[in-house]
Symmetry: C2
Subunit: 237 residues, 2 copies
Amino acid sequence: MQASLQPTSERAAQIGLPIPPASSEAPTSQPPLGTLEDLAVTVSLCKDDEVYAQGGSARYIYRILGGCVRTVKLMEDGRRQVNEFLLPGDWFGFEALAEHDFAAEAVGPVLLRRYPRRPLDTLAARDPGIARWLLELTSQQLRSARDRMVTLGRKTASERIAGFLLEMTRRMPRDSNGGVGLPMSRGDIADHLGLTIETVCRCLAQIRREGTIVLTRANLAVRNPAALRALASATRH
Amino acid sequence: MQASLQPTSERAAQIGLPIPPASSEAPTSQPPLGTLEDLAVTVSLCKDDEVYAQGGSARYIYRILGGCVRTVKLMEDGRRQVNEFLLPGDWFGFEALAEHDFAAEAVGPVLLRRYPRRPLDTLAARDPGIARWLLELTSQQLRSARDRMVTLGRKTASERIAGFLLEMTRRMPRDSNGGVGLPMSRGDIADHLGLTIETVCRCLAQIRREGTIVLTRANLAVRNPAALRALASATRH
DNA sequence: CGGTCGGTTGAGCTAGATCAAATCCAGTGG
DNA sequence: CCACTGGATTTGATCTAGCTCAACCGACCG
């Protein structure tokens, strides 16, 4: 872990970073970081490298240029919760408290831009626009965390999977065949949704059998979005 | 619902509001709200009154003076997720986006202070201290939401219950007998922890049988905190 | 005193976990 | 180019934590 936090902006090509078109998500309002941009460096990571550790002090914030990052919380006995998957264009690490409560790890090869927190904080103390932007980012995270709360607390396995697939088709860029790449493993998905790998596989297989999706190891195409949406918010009984 | 959002500061006594000593939680840094305090009103609510509805526009922020408020998300078929319980001293409703993503309801009789958002926002745009305070509140919410994510995604029923009891003893004021009052029903607890009422009861009964806690309908005393802590972070197998 | 509404307890049932065994590739070395 | 190897994925068989359904209990209330 912690292998390559050295700025190595050229490594992207070396490690075969998947071309990173911006997330199709509504781009979070670009902040006027001006002077801060000069203090930023570009960092490239390999699969499973740690961006920062759980409990580490929060010295930087990050923006993803390419690839996918997961935030992870680990229990002592190895149970794992993947809080979120971060995609190109997404910012993270700005939670404003002293220590990171989650670790952040590269799901695959990742390229990201790293900004120091200290000058950002002083900037935010002067510029209400920056402060507002930070608040908005945090609020959005909070909102999506709360949505996931319902997922984890009250939804069935297939509802979780269907919802996840919908989220991915929404956030990932469409490729030439109308499909999207799933950068994360089944295990990552399982730990994100509070399920086991096997249950994830079985639900995916089920949805595929019904003809709702076409799925290879890492590529997803939705054939019947309506059916998928119905699955995601199934009214029970 | 929506019964009594009229400012009725005298009703507290009428409805027998449980004396509201401040939460023993580290009080979130008191903001210099100065001028805003003049625009605030005190509101009193009865059990199950709605403070605001899911999807309602976010016009106010609130501080609890006494009682307990729950934030709730409801699925169409009635499945319910209680996001958090808010206690005296806690602020809520400041998520900064236009609409509330959760409803907020009084768990029992509640007294709260209501501040209009618009002037707060303009205040925050001028005063970095206010902005910083809002960001900190939101970040704390985000942090606790993320902790609950692990609970909901990966913990067993008894771990959830034990963790919840510990949280309550931490946040609630101790009464003369060393116990704390639990303002919420078993159903609320169940919907908070992603369990059923029956499972909540059975786990509580189990922990009580072991002598770790003494529990009546609405009052909890922890006899063996170490045992409870062990339960909450049990290393599986 | 009967009714209602939380809470508790018992008896199965089942969604999803666990355990185990293929299968499928992607990358490696020949 | 092809066989080989190891990890990821898939599928099958079984088990179980927690859910569901149902009965009962006790406090409070009119």
